[in-house]
Each structure stands twice: as C-alpha cells, then as structure tokens.
C-alpha cells in the first residue's frame, strides 16, 4: 500500500523554497536554480513519514502524494 505512492508536485505552485529537499533528501535534490528534482518511483516505506512532513511543510503546498503511475 504505502509502497505504491509517489510524490507529486504542482510545478506552477512551486516557488523553489527548497524546504522539501531538507526534509526528504532521500528522494529530493535541488537543481541549479533551487527547484526540486524528485526521484522517480515509489516512496520507500521508511521515507514516507518524511515525505508527509515535506508535504505539510511546503510553503506553497505544492506537494502531494499520488498513485505511483499517475502522470505528474
């Protein structure tokens, strides 16, 4: 169940605050301009709590959990 979800992002909402990369470095790094690059695939179960914190901690509420195969 929990291993079938991925992190989705609303690219228009995202302002590149970078909080997410601090909270879940396991699956998010920042590009040269400070915008998140999210590792493809399911979120590992051990990382899921951190991913949830990133979702609630995002200043623009741009992150969400979504079914693994959902398009962006």
């Amino acid at each position: 169940m929990s291993d079938r979800v991925a992190l989705g992002i609303d690219r228009i909402k995202c302002d590149g605050h970078g909080v997410c990369a601090d909270l879940v470095p396991e699956i998010i790094e920042l590009d040269d301009w400070g915008y998140p690059i999210i590792r493809a695939g399911a979120i590992p179960a051990s990382v899921l709590p951190h991913a949830r914190r990133a979702i609630s901690g995002c200043p623009t509420l741009a992150l969400r959990l979504q079914a693994l195969n959902a398009r962006r």
Binding site: I12, C14, G16, W33, I37
Partner: protein, 408 residues
C-alpha cells in the same frame, strides 16, 4: 477526383465553398455509434504534435459522468515552422467543421469552440465564412475564438484556460481537459487536421484510410517542408513515405544539407544521411527515437550553422516560456544564454558542460511540455552538431561560416 484532405479546387481559388464541398464528398454522415470503433481501426493519431490515439481520447471524454462535454477544435498552431493547420482551415474549412460536428455528436457535446490563432487571418476569414454557410442548427452550437499569438497558446490546458478566463497559459494537471475543461465540463481538445481526417474516415471508412498509407503505415498526413527547398510548402503525403520523397515532392533540395529539423521546435535534429531514409510515420518514427511532431520538415541549408540555428530556437523558446514553473523559467533562460554565447563565439568557461548537463534536467519538470520540448531539441543538437559545438566552444570558431572570434 481523388479523396484527400487537400483534394478539391486549387488553393489559389481560396476556400472551398460548402456547395462544392458537399458535391465533392457527399453530405456529412449522420451520427454513427460505431465511429469511435472505426477511428480506432483506422489507427488515427492526433496531429497536434503529441500523437495520442484519437479513439482513446474520444472514449475518455464520452465516458465522463460530470457535465455535458465540449469540443475544442485546436487551430492555434503556434509552431513557427508549421503552416498545415492555418492552410487547411483556409482551404478546406468545411472539412474541419465536419470533423468537429462529428466529434461533438459522438461524444455528446452541445458546444464546439473553433480555436484559431489570431495571426492566421486567412484561416479566420475562411472559417467565419464557412460558419455562415452551415445550417442554423449547427451554427447555434459553434463559435470561433481567436487565440493569442504565442507559442504556448495552442497547448491544450492553455487553450481551455484562455476560453475560461482569458489567460492563454497552461494550468497544472490534473485535472486534464478531458476530465474538467471548458466551464468545468469534459472537453475534447483535438487538432483541426485530426478532425478533418475524421470527416473523411466517417464518409469513406477506416479501410479506405488505412489504404492511404505507404507500407505498413496507415493514412495520410500533412507536412510543412521548408528550409533548403525552393519555397516552404504544405503537402499531404501517405504516412510512411520516405523523408527524401517528401522533400522531392516539395521541389527537392536547393543546396547540400547536413541536417534536418524533424517535428519543429519540439522535435529534433537528424543527420541528413539518416534523415533521407526515415519513414514519415508517427509510430515508426517513435520506435526509432524520433518524432514527427506537428509534421515539420526543415532542411538546414549549406552555409547555415546548426549551432547558431539551435541557439536561435532556444532563445525563442526561452522567451516563449509561460514563466510559471521554475525549471522552465530559469532553466531555459540559462540554457539559452549559454547556447547563445557558444554560438556567438563568446563562450565562458563551463558553458558547454552546463548545457550538456541541463539538457538532461528539464524533462517532465513543467506543468506542460514546454521544457521537455526545448530539452529534446537541445539534446538532438548536441548529438548531431557535437563537433561543431566543440569547435565553437574550444576554438571560438565556426567552421560552417568560417568566422572566428577576434583574439581577446
């Protein structure tokens, strides 16, 4: 007379009037429940660039439960190298409207929006004149909206956004237009050429359509051939025709050429030696790692440098970014600036390495496919013009134009 999108009176005579259109092709067939199955068997794919299977899209819209669907006939055509949609609307507007009406009848839509680029004035005039010739029952559900002159205007969420709110910028997905589009209703966004094909498939059948293709490919397709040919032309070809034959049909090349830009600004560069033999069929090209995109074939003339042309296109695409998503706003700007310096023989240390890395960083990182398109074009240029990029960067010289930077 042969049956084809562009068959009928010569383009010089302007648009085909309704009487002539009906005399030539017969009346628009009545609602056919089996039309989606027929389209599926025909193998028809969307002609706007993405090549999505048409039958699948229609089924998705028809099966939505919330709200009466709307049809958006997309004639935005923001691609600078393409002419096909505007010329089709100029010459055969009734074919496009036929297809839109069939689409509406099939998916249960009560409203049709004809979305036409504001700068395509000939197309707008022809479509308006054609509308005036349609029966009142059809006119009541048809309206024409002119699209702002901007590259992203034709992107499907941007088109819906413009019609809903007057803002021709992409929106985040989900929801996609087929789920929630115009007025929040399920919306079928379909390119105008695609709809014109449907108007013929509904009359002559999927077997007829399949038989138009060359080899194993199905149907015909419109391509705009430009660059090192006598003049930019729109031609209709059997899908699967070799690229060299399409270029010959356009009058043949006027100079030697090292590369072809296939698919337009969201397509990619192909070495001419490879390009000439490529089959112009969306499916085959995809399997080979290329894209027919919106059917643009631009032959790079001798004496024109691929690095310079690529930098010019990237500058255009960076400028045309909707500037809503960071990776596109800042990534394309940085790529364009660095590529411009390399092309202009003023590269600073690291420019080429940066471009190479950034080309792989943009895919899937925008609300729409604008960054993907630019990154794909850049990646193809780095492959096809690899040597020339190095010469520009390392030696500050262009071996095509034989220009070298002044010693600094």
């Amino acid at each position: 007379m042969s049956i084809a999108l562009l068959a009928g009176p010569p383009p010089a005579q302007g648009m085909e009037r309704r009487a002539e259109h009906q005399h030539r092709l017969g009346a628009l067939p009545l609602r056919q429940p089996s039309l989606i199955d027929s389209i599926e068997r025909s193998g028809l794919r969307g002609k706007g660039g993405a090549g999505f299977p048409v039958a699948t899209k229609w089924r998705s819209v028809a099966s939505q439960r919330a709200g009466t669907p709307v049809v958006l006939a997309n004639g935005g055509e923001g691609e600078p190298l393409s002419r096909k949609d505007r010329m089709l609307m100029e010459q055969r507007p009734h074919l496009v409207i036929d297809g839109a009406v069939l689409a509406a009848d099939t998916v249960g839509a009560d409203e049709i929006v004809l979305y036409v680029g504001a700068d395509h004035t000939g197309a707008i005039q022809a479509m308006l004149r054609a509308l005036s010739e349609r029966p009142a029952t059809e006119r009541a559900r048809l309206r024409l909206v002119s699209a702002p002159v901007r590259y992203v205007s034709g992107e499907e969420t941007a088109a819906v956004h413009f019609i809903n709110a007057g803002i021709a910028l992409p929106t985040s997905i989900p929801p996609r237009p087929f789920e929630r589009g115009i007025d929040g209703r399920p919306t079928l966004v379909q390119n105008v050429e695609t709809l014109a094909h449907v108007a013929l498939i509904a009359r002559f059948g999927d077997e007829w359509f399949r038989s138009l293709g060359a080899g194993t490919a199905s149907g015909s397709t419109l391509v705009t051939v430009g660059g090192a040919v006598p003049q930019t032309v729109l031609i209709e070809i059997p899908q699967g025709l070799a690229l060299s034959e399409a270029v010959n049909a356009a009058g043949g090349i006027t100079s030697d050429s090292d590369a072809v830009l296939l698919g337009g600004y969201f397509g990619g560069w192909v070495e001419s030696t490879t390009a000439w033999g490529l089959p112009l069929d969306a499916d085959s090209l995809r399997q080979l790692g290329y894209s027919l995109g919106c059917g643009v074939i631009a032959v790079l003339p001798s004496g024109r440098c691929g690095v310079v042309e690529t930098a010019r296109i990237l500058a255009y695409l960076a400028h045309e970014s909707a500037r809503q998503c960071g990776p596109c706003t800042f990534g394309l700007r940085a790529i364009s600036a660095a590529a411009g310096r390399v092309a202009g023989l003023t590269a600073t240390h690291g420019d080429l390495e940066h471009i190479q890395r950034w080309a792989g960083l943009l895919k899937g990182r925008g609300a729409c496919r604008h960054p993907d398109g630019a990154a794909g074009l850049l990646a193809s240029a780095l492959r096809v013009f690899a040597d020339e990029f190095m010469i520009h960067y390392d030696h500050r010289r262009c071996s095509i134009t034989n220009v070298a930077a002044a010693a600094s």
